[in-house]
């Protein structure tokens, strides 16, 4: 396998803020590589450096065999980018956006027409190709942007939060496109996201990013296997620290993490441990609000490594809703 991206101790500082703090990793040709982390973890900054939009403070990186510092023009020829924020010209039609992009990459008329027809088919926008982009829906715009990133047949396609702000159905739809892209072409995909399910579903390997550092990197399955057993979530309203200290002492508690009113324990045979945990809590005079058990998810792994849920970064309203969904699904 060829490494299409190699990154060595990449740093980026904005004044005293270390946005990216010594990241090293490689990506193999044809892989879907996911960056998972909360907002502000340094994902987008890393992408900007790899796509030559931002100069690193220190460190080395090569994309498609070219150094980002010494040969940015060659890097640019070999990559496509779908930005986090929209970047279409809304006063042009979908087809014109693709055409302009192709001309900017010096693709001749014949190949251009063929490639654009191909891309329009893939993103299912053939019948809307000649409509002004300002009349597109959010999902259509996103699909067009992903398609545009492919017109010049890049070796590496960067997708920065490709489904941010889209509804669940459209998100699923986009996921299918991304999978299909990777299956049919040999294009390598670098994906940043703060949606756990997205990384779990799409990525061959996932890097957890927190405070500008990679805290864990492996396949989603291997990451989950590392926790092993079951995850038991205990809701505690009062004296959570007390219970935390108490439970930590037991050998059968493999890991224990506290976050926003919950204690997450990884244990074997979780269903038998729940009554035991509740009894222990009662002995201490601590009331347990609820208890649930589930197989470790990528989110549990993230909590294990960073001590916090990726969603704690989101607004309170979101948190409540997602937590409710989370609980229901795991029941």
């Amino acid at each position: 396998m060829v490494n299409v991206i190699e990154v060595e101790r990449l740093h980026k500082e904005f004044g005293s803020l270390k946005a990216v703090d010594g990241i090293s990793f490689y990506v193999q040709e044809g892989e879907i590589f996911g960056f998972l982390g909360p907002n502000g973890a340094g994902k987008t900054t890393t992408i900007k450096m790899l796509t030559t939009l931002l100069k690193p403070t220190s460190g080395k990186a090569s994309v498609a065999g070219y150094s980002i510092a010494e040969n940015p023009k060659e890097v640019r020829k070999n990559i496509g980018i779908v930005f986090q924020d929209p970047s279409l010209d809304e006063d042009l039609t979908g087809r014109e956006n693709l055409e302009f992009h192709a001309i900017l990459y010096k693709i001749g008329k014949e190949r251009r027409d063929k490639k654009i027809a191909e891309v329009l088919k893939l993103i299912e926008l053939e019948d809307k190709a000649d409509v002004l982009v300002k009349n597109y829906s959010g999902g259509m715009k996103r699909r067009l942007e992903i398609g545009r990133g492919l017109v010049h047949e890049p070796r590496v396609l960067f997708l920065d939060e490709p489904t941010l702000g889209l509804d669940v159905q459209t998100r699923r739809h986009i996921w299918e496109y991304i999978k299909r892209l990777n299956d049919t072409g040999k294009v390598t995909l670098i994906l940043t996201t703060h949606y756990i399910e997205e990384a779990d579903y799409l990525a061959d390997r996932v890097a957890f990013v927190d405070h500008g550092k990679i805290v864990a990197l492996d396949t989603p399955q291997a990451l989950k296997d590392k926790l092993g057993g079951d995850v038991v979530s205990i809701e505690v309203h009062k004296e959570i620290d007390n219970l935390h200290r108490h439970l930590k002492k037991f050998k059968w508690v493999k890991t224990i993490t506290k976050h926003e009113g919950y204690l997450d324990l990884t244990v074997d045979e979780g269903e038998k441990k729940i009554p035991e945990i509740i009894m222990l809590a009662q002995k201490q005079g601590i009331a347990v609000g609820s208890a649930s058990i589930h197989k470790p998810s990528l989110e549990d792994v993230f909590i294990h490594y960073t001590g916090k849920s990726i969603r704690e970064e989101e607004s309170a309203g979101w948190k409540g809703r997602i937590r409710a969904v989370h609980m229901r699904r795991n029941r």
Binding site: L54, K77, P86, S87, L92, Y105
Partner: protein, 252 residues
Amino acid sequence: MDANAIYVLWLRDMKRFIRAKSRIIGMLMMPVFFLLGLGLGLGSLVHLSGGGSYLEFIVPGIIGMTLLFTSISSGTAVLWDRQFGFLKEIMVTPNSRTSIIFGRVLGGATTAVLQSILVVIISMLVGFNIHWSGITVLAVVFMFLIAATFISLGITLGSMINDFQGFQLVTNFFTLPLFFLSNGIFPLSSLPAVVEAVSFANPLTYGIDGLRNTLTGSGTFAPLWVDFTGAAISAVIMIMIAAYTFGKTDVG
């Protein structure tokens, strides 16, 4: 230099120009008011020392004003593209930033020249006579040079200023002095010597006089070759400044 990038940015401006009919009409309103108010209204009171009608004097000035205003405000395109993310899309392509500037200047200048030609046609409808000769077509060259100069100024300001309100304020600060000190609405010889000297440094002075030389057959400031040299040098310098400042802007 990447010809493909220049071409595509020019083409984009053309498509936008053709589609934005209301904007064309809006841009034509001000020159038409000036034409009616100054050319016809005030013109009946003004008697030029060298003879000739005031309308004939002021039409090149109004064309210069149209070019100045449309060109400087085309710097907002940089702001809009940054706002809508399209700037990033252009910047990550393997094209030099200088080519991107050339494409923008070419597209903006073509738009501004087309509008100016519309102003010339309207002026002819209200009584302006072109003094046809072999050099009349050179008027288009002067239009182009004026446009290139001030589009570059607009891009320079647009690259340095990140918000729309700030941009508006700063361009207002530039446009009126540039216009009043340009022999557009009155001959420079009627100004005090100090102010007259300042207006020699104004690119628009050369541009408008060039238009006057080519359209009416007689300038009020300098011979044609001086006008051309002045206008061409300012255009080249301003494009270089624009390329430099735009090259340094942060897209991220």
